[in-house]
């Protein structure tokens, strides 16, 4: 047993009582990072991490700062000053930011120890963990490397699931934290839009982008939100809404909470193991005093969540990545005209997948098409958000399986758009549409692979998400789950 396998709360306790030092934790984290065979890291920062850890051990451990001395990993789309940040794209090879993203600054100011930058689907545009320039990132729960971890926050997910660190930063635009969390049994949290500053995070689609993160327990997740949600003037979409003390206020008491299960999504899940476990969890929640109802929504509307998300995000992405031209930063291949310089950089720097995404985005923004495609997708977004807000008028939270099955295998899914469209696999983007706080946490195991549930609530109602999640941990017994923890198997 190593302290690094514990949750943040437990590690903090151990640091306070001097059972472990920051340097010991950091060294172990770095060792595991180097030993990891899932291709989860862009850069491992041995020198700076050891230096910081050594300095920190000279200081007293502050009782109220849980992040002191905690090793962490950041998705390589968060700007880190003086440390190469590539977005897992060749177009940014060698780019060294001159500044830290706000959340990086908050973590560093709290004296957490950054030990590595994690891989992602290129520029966060993907969901398979296969399109980053370092190649495929694998699922630590499958040594044969047949199952994917998903994306786009693939490396961040692996770093916590594989027990390298107890906390990692990711981002969630359609489900890029909450889906991988399902695939590797983690608590993946995406808070309300505008709650956590996005300053310094490479933008994919700002109206959908959220900073998200991975932990092994709901408590840790609430702790992290306290630190990360501090108001930041640098982000003109960062809300002035009051922040709660999420950690102090989280409670297992869910008596009287009204929870909705969306019928159309839930009934589309055919896997008997998952369905059974999900039903059992509902009984558990009812047993704790919650009211759990099947609620019906318009199936046509629900089926447009993913297409609308796809168009809006691809369209916004074409604009957000227009600054990548090899002129100010990134490899410059030269050319005879300035257009050629840009063209060479972009043609060589972008991978085929995101080029296709950009073309779709460009196409849907063309003035001929904008009305039918982009604007209509934005209208659909409006209607979808209105429909969910209707549900939230009567219910505190929506509760569903996070995905129709455990982590897909590589040969089942590809980065190409496919016909086989499952509502249950593609609904999580509603959380981005409406900026709803949304959290995935592990529910059980099937054939050695974890699967999870998702809890979503209305804007700024993180408390209900955390409370229901905390209560569920008593049912799942998967609090603190990572690859090193022994767990049961569901049948």
């Amino acid at each position: 047993m190593n302290y690094l396998d514990k949750t943040i709360v437990e590690i903090h306790e151990a640091l306070l009582s001097k059972k472990v030092s920051v340097l010991e934790l950091t060294k172990e984290a770095l060792k595991r990072a180097h030993e990891n065979s899932d291709n989860a890291f862009e850069l491992i920062l041995d020198e700076s991490a050891i230096k910081k850890a050594t300095e920190l051990d000279k200081l007293p451990v502050p009782k109220d700062n849980y992040f002191f001395g905690i090793p962490y990993v950041a998705k390589d789309s968060f700007s880190t000053k003086g440390i190469e940040t590539t977005g897992s794209s060749n177009i940014l090879n060698g780019y060294i930011p001159l500044f830290d993203a706000t959340v990086i600054k908050y973590l560093n100011d709290a004296n957490a120890v950054l030990i590595a930058k994690a891989t992602l689907d290129e520029l966060a545009m993907g969901g398979t963990g296969t399109t980053g320039h370092k190649g495929i990132t694998y699922n630590p729960y499958d040594a044969s490397h047949e199952h994917m971890v998903g994306g786009s926050s693939c490396g961040s997910a692996v770093s916590v699931a594989a027990g390298v660190v107890p906390f990692s930063l990711g981002s969630d635009t359609g489900d890029s934290v909450r889906k991988p969390a399902n695939n590797v049994g983690l608590v993946g949290m995406k808070p309300t839009w505008g709650l956590i500053s996005r300053y310094g995070l490479f933008p994919f689609a700002p109206s959908l982008d959220h900073v998200g993160y991975f932990t092994k327990s709901v408590e840790d997740s609430a702790l992290a939100l306290n630190l990360l949600s501090k108001r930041d003037d640098n982000d003109a979409t960062n809300t002035y809404h009051k922040r709660d003390d999420y950690f102090k206020e989280v409670s297992k008491d869910i008596k009287g909470k009204k929870i909705a299960v969306i019928k159309e999504i839930s009934t589309s899940i055919k896997d008997p193991v998952l369905a059974k476990k999900f039903d059992e969890s509902i009984e558990f929640l009812k047993g704790k005093g919650a009211v759990v109802d099947m609620v019906s929504m318009d199936a046509t509307l629900l089926s447009t969540i993913y297409p609308a998300y796809f168009i809006i995000s691809c369209a916004e992405a074409t604009s957000n990545n227009a600054n990548l031209d090899g002129i100010k930063f990134g490899p410059n291949y030269g050319g005879n005209t300035y257009q050629e310089v840009m063209y060479n950089s972009r043609t060589r720097g972008f991978s085929p997948l995101i080029k296709r995404r950009f073309v779709i985005g460009s196409y849907s923004l063309m003035s001929d098409n904008q009305h039918d495609l982009f604007l209509r997708a934005q209208k659909a977004r409006h209607m979808i958000v209105d429909a969910f807000n209707e549900v939230f008028k009567k219910y505190d939270a929506i509760y569903l399986l996070a995905a129709p099955k455990t982590a897909p295998k590589f040969n089942e899914a590809s980065d190409k758009l496919s016909d086989t469209y499952l509502l249950a696999d593609n609904y999580l983007a509603f959380g981005n549409f409406g900026g709803f706080p949304s959290m995935t946490l592990p529910l059980g195991f099937k054939d050695g692979m974890p699967f999870g549930v998702n809890i979503t609530s209305k804007p700024f109602d993180e408390k209900d998400v955390f409370d229901i999640g905390l209560a569920l941990e008593d049912f799942t017994n998967l609090k603190g789950l990572d690859i090193n923890m022994k767990h049961g198997e569901d049948k």
């Binding site: 789309s77 968060f78 700007s79 940040t85 977005g87 940014l92 780019y95 930011p97 001159l98 500044f99 993203a101 505008g194 996005r198 300053y199 310094g200 995070l201 490479f202 933008p203 689609a205 700002p206 109206s207 003037d233 640098n234 982000d235 003109a236 979409t237 369209a315 916004e316 074409t318 604009s319 990545n321 227009a322 600054n323 990548l324 031209d325 002129i327 100010k328 930063f329 300035y338 257009q339 840009m342 460009s362 923004l365 063309m366 003035s367 904008q370 982009f374």
Partner: protein, 474 residues
């Protein structure tokens, strides 16, 4: 056949805030390249815009001065295109919801007041500066992100003269409102124009031609006059006008083809998702407008009422806001308003004109002008002494009282001394008293001239004059 020109003007004004529109980099002109750049200006990934409060206040002032309907919520859009001087690959602008709509400005043409309607005014940001060499170009990001205000007229303008007057009026407004120095020569005010012609009485608009590269207000008038002539001649010969962009060639004083207009570029405008809409309270808007420095008409009214100086003199002083401000400073110290005005117009302006300088480069403290005028008013010095002292004051920016002492420029005030000299002159010219009594006033001036000669110009002219008249009457 007579043609009517239909002209619209689009003007960009660099706002003189201390920092840029969306970043906090200093907004300074003419600095060493790439020394006034913030992270956002170079479009590093993950950087985000923050709207400059003062830029908004200044835009509100202009919107108000142009009688626009003001939108109390700020929305921004992205104008997406690729160009070497556009770091983000898009410009943040206000396409669909500009801060001001449907206003107007009044100009005086041929003795009549004409209203030029203004369609819109909005905020946006400037691009990089490019320096072009034979085989390469260099990019300077200092200007990237500088706040711009764009003002677009309705096509109400009909002649080059009207266009000139319109731009002059705009310049007057933006300089008086302290929003910009409005200089086309250094790029802080830029104009593009579009013009079409049609036979009088016809509603249908002709083919529109865009004219760019207008580097001065004079150029605007010349370019439009030329275009009207060119298009008229073309149509009279039966040759249709081509839709194109032309540039003004300053040397030839003609417009020449720059590029044939192809389909409009698709800018794929969409809402800027990194700036949530910003509601401006009524108080904020009112405060911005109420704290606007005096505009021309307000100054004219005040100068007329409080100073009571000649209207032609007021107009000269108000021709430049800084000149008007300088006058206000001088006027603080004394009540000899007309004398101060006279002095400024004859002496200060002539030095500035001679050295081709602007009042902002005039380093003399207003109170020194005052002291000098005071000395002249009290007849402690005469006008030629005044001129000499003024030269020294301009050179060293020190009090005229110092130079007065140095020059030993104390006038001879003593009556008996002056009387002696007058008597000497009359003795040398015995016919003078008789001439004077016979109505020849030249005699008076002659004696004065001789007195000045004999005293090296030091005689107090007021005293001398009085005594001369008394003596000549005898």
């Amino acid at each position: 056949m007579n043609f009517e020109a239909v002209i619209g003007l689009e003007t960009h004004i660099e706002t003189n805030t201390k920092s840029k529109m969306f970043s906090s980099a200093p907004n300074l002109a003419e600095q060493e390249p790439n020394t006034e750049v913030a992270l956002l200006d170079m479009a590093f990934p993950g950087t985000m815009p923050r709207v400059n409060k003062e830029a908004v206040r200044k835009a509100l002032r202009i919107a108000h001065a142009l009688h626009m309907t003001i939108d109390d919520t700020l929305y921004f859009e992205r104008k997406n295109y690729f160009y070497s001087d556009l770091p983000k690959g898009y410009q943040i602008t206000q396409q669909f919801r500009p801060i001001g709509r449907n206003g107007y400005v009044e100009i005086e043409v041929g003795g009549k007041i004409k209203k030029i309607r203004i369609e819109r005014i909005h905020m946006e940001e400037d691009t990089c500066k490019q320096l072009h060499f034979s085989s390469y170009s260099l990019l300077d990001y200092n200007r990237a992100g500088v706040p711009l205000i764009e003002i677009v007229t309705m096509p109400d303008i009909r002649t080059g003269e009207e266009a000139r007057k319109y731009v002059e009026k705009l310049r007057e407004i933006v300089t008086f409102a302290d929003v910009s120095d409005g200089k086309m020569e250094n790029g802080s005010m830029r104009c593009d124009t579009n013009i079409s012609i049609r036979p009088y009485g016809v509603d249908k608009l002709g083919t529109k031609v865009e004219v760019k590269n207008l580097n001065s207000i004079v150029d605007i008038e010349k370019a439009l006059d030329y275009e009207i002539k060119r298009q008229s001649e073309s149509l009279l010969m039966g040759i249709p006008v081509i839709q194109e962009t032309r540039r003004f060639d300053e040397g030839k004083k003609e417009t020449v083809t720059m590029r044939i207009k192809t389909d409009a570029v698709d800018y794929k405008y969409f809402t800027e998702p990194n700036i949530a809409p910003i509601k401006l309270s009524k108080e904020f808007i009112e405060d911005a407008i109420n704290t606007c420095p005096e505009l021309y008409d307000q100054k004219l009214a005040r100068f007329t009422k409080n100073y009571g100086i000649e209207l032609t003199d007021i107009k000269i002083l108000l021709s430049d806001k800084n000149l008007a401000d300088y006058f206000d400073e001088c006027a603080k110290f004394s009540k000899h308003y007309q004398s101060i005005a006279n002095f400024m117009i004859s002496n200060v302006l002539s030095i500035l004109n001679k050295e081709n300088k602007n009042i902002t480069e005039f380093k003399v403290e207003p109170k020194y002008i005052n002291e000098l005028v005071e000395l002249l008013e009290n007849k402690e010095i005469n006008s030629s002494q005044g001129k000499k002292i003024f030269e020294s004051v301009v050179k060293e920016n020190k009090s005229p009282l110092i130079f007065k002492k140095e020059l030993g420029a104390t006038l001879i005030n003593d009556e008996s001394t002056i009387l002696d000299i007058i008597k000497e002159v009359i003795k040398e010219n015995p016919s003078l008293p008789a001439d004077f009594k016979a109505g020849k006033t030249r005699a008076q001036g002659f004696v004065m001239g001789q007195v000045m000669k004999k005293t090296q110009g030091k005689a107090n002219p007021g005293v001398a004059n009085k005594l001369i008249v008394e003596e000549l009457k005898k």
